[in-house]
């Protein structure tokens, strides 16, 4: 293992094959974990005495919200790697992650609204967590819109990477400013921070679902990266050979 050449897979051609082999596994594990997590969450976990069965949406909501944040940081890491080492694959991974991240943010906002209506009596409150999640969604949209507006892939990669880095520096500032803003304007006093102690089985279900979300995100990002590779390298030798081999 010591003389294994990691750099081999920074070439899009070799990475394309590797990702192709890995994707079914990640999707498979994601599906298994998802079934297990949903079984834990929907059948085994007891009904909450305060929120009745409405709380069960956290098995989707919390993993999605976690992934939304994690993916932004991972995306910024790929962007930084790309700018530092000038590797095309890093940029491709960053742009492959963005749609999944935006999807996770959207799911967490949507399920949050579905949970808020029976529990708080409102689809939306200007709570600190909701607001910062919404801003995170805007940051994803900005990243994708910038990349979509630039035709030259090299410039699109680097411009996107820079805005991802600027965004990740700003995320903590935005998060804390929104939190202080919320505590000062405490009109509708809803506390999400004071969560009731959770039964172990609920926690287990949530963690399994979080793992499933990780696996799904990796698989989705890899398959999107494969499409990006094909699109960018369509004029290269190895793609032509691969297409001929399949035909």
């Amino acid at each position: 293992m010591s003389n294994f050449n990691w750099y081999k897979y920074s070439s899009p051609a070799t990475f394309y094959g590797l990702a192709g082999k890995m994707i079914p596994w990640f999707y498979g594990v994601a599906a298994l974990l998802c079934v297990a997590g949903l079984y834990l969450g929907l059948f085994l976990a007891p009904t909450d005495f305060q929120q009745s069965d409405a709380y069960r949406i956290i098995f989707i909501h919390v993993p999605a919200a976690w992934m939304a944040m994690v993916i932004y940081v991972v995306m910024a890491c790929w962007a930084a790697l790309g700018l530092a080492f000038n590797t095309r694959l890093s940029f491709m991974m960053a742009s492959a992650l963005a749609p999944t991240g935006a999807l996770m943010t959207f799911i967490s906002l949507w399920t949050g609204a579905l949970w808020g209506k029976p529990t708080w009596g409102a689809w939306w409150v200007w709570d600190a967590r909701l607001t910062s999640e919404l801003i995170l969604f805007f940051l994803y949209l900005g990243f994708m819109a910038l990349q979509a507006a630039i035709d030259d892939p090299r410039r699109a990669d680097r411009a996107g990477a820079l805005i991802a880095l600027v965004g990740v520096v700003n995320v903590p500032i935005i998060y804390f400013s929104v939190r202080w803003w919320n505590t000062l304007h405490q009109g509708a006093s809803v506390s999400v921070t004071k969560s009731p102690s959770m039964a172990a089985i609920m926690l287990a279900g949530m963690l399994v679902m979080a793992l499933a979300a990780w696996m799904y995100a990796i698989a989705a990002a890899l398959s999107r990266a494969r499409s990006i590779i094909l699109e960018r390298e369509k004029n290269s030798q190895w793609v032509a050979q691969m297409v001929e081999g399949e035909a």
Binding site: A145, A149, A159, I163, N170, W180, L184
Partner: protein
């Protein structure tokens, strides 16, 4: 030429260009006034409500006006090739970028600060709150120019650049809006505005240190 002289030469050039195109400056200023005047028409003339909203409305209008003026920052210099010449000069880009951003703030930020008290009076803000509004704008509008410069540099020469800038830059403006409007709110409610103003000052220092580097990287990406 030392650093200070370079910045002064650049400032003089930018200000002269702005003076010869006074219409641009005035457009942004009137946009600011009109946006602020739309709010009472939208929510009704109740003085109590307007007094509560005043600080926030003026700040939102300032955000939008600052964003609108970003197109001017690099676009014309990019179109006539000045920007490439500036990049080719031996002066470190961070220096002339800081100069350009400073000039942009003088031309688009300072007029807003001068007009803001008038809008504040229209919303029935107290005298103390008017003072805080001006101070918060003094600390906050340079941040708007600094952060906005990153967006302007990244979208240089793109189709639909103006709309794109708003998507990139407005989420990043949110902390400035929160603390700026919060300071005015604090003055109105008697809670005090020192904490908000200190945080705004902190953001200004941070932005002043970091953004010129980001802008310089962004310009290199857009021009190469």
């Amino acid at each position: 030429m030392n650093t200070l002289q370079i910045v002064i030469v650049l400032l003089r050039r930018e200000l002269m260009l702005a003076m010869r195109r006074r219409g641009d400056v005035l457009t942004v200023l009137f946009f600011f006034v009109i946006v602020a005047s739309l709010f009472p028409l939208g929510v009704g003339p109740d003085p109590k409500l307007l007094r509560l909203m005043g600080g926030g409305v003026v700040w939102v209008a300032a955000l939008l006006a600052a964003m609108l003026s970003l197109g001017r920052l690099f676009a014309s210099d990019h179109a006539d090739g000045t920007l490439e010449q500036l990049i080719l000069t031996p002066t470190p880009p961070v220096i002339w970028i800081t100069g350009k951003i400073l000039a942009h703030w003088l031309v688009s930020g300072v007029p807003l600060i001068l007009v803001a008290p008038v809008l504040g009076v229209q919303f029935g803000l107290s005298n103390e709150a008017l003072g805080v509004l001006v101070i918060s704008l003094l600390l906050g509008t340079p941040v708007l120019s600094l952060i906005g410069a990153i967006g302007a540099a990244l979208t240089l020469g793109l189709r639909g650049g103006g709309v794109l800038v708003s998507l990139l830059v407005l989420p990043l403006y949110i902390p400035v809006l929160i603390f700026g409007a919060g300071a005015v709110d604090g003055a109105m409610s008697g809670l005090g505005s020192e904490a908000h103003l200190s945080l705004l000052g902190g953001i200004l220092i941070l932005a002043f240190m970091l953004t010129p580097w980001a802008v310089s990287a962004a310009l290199r990406i857009s021009i190469e």
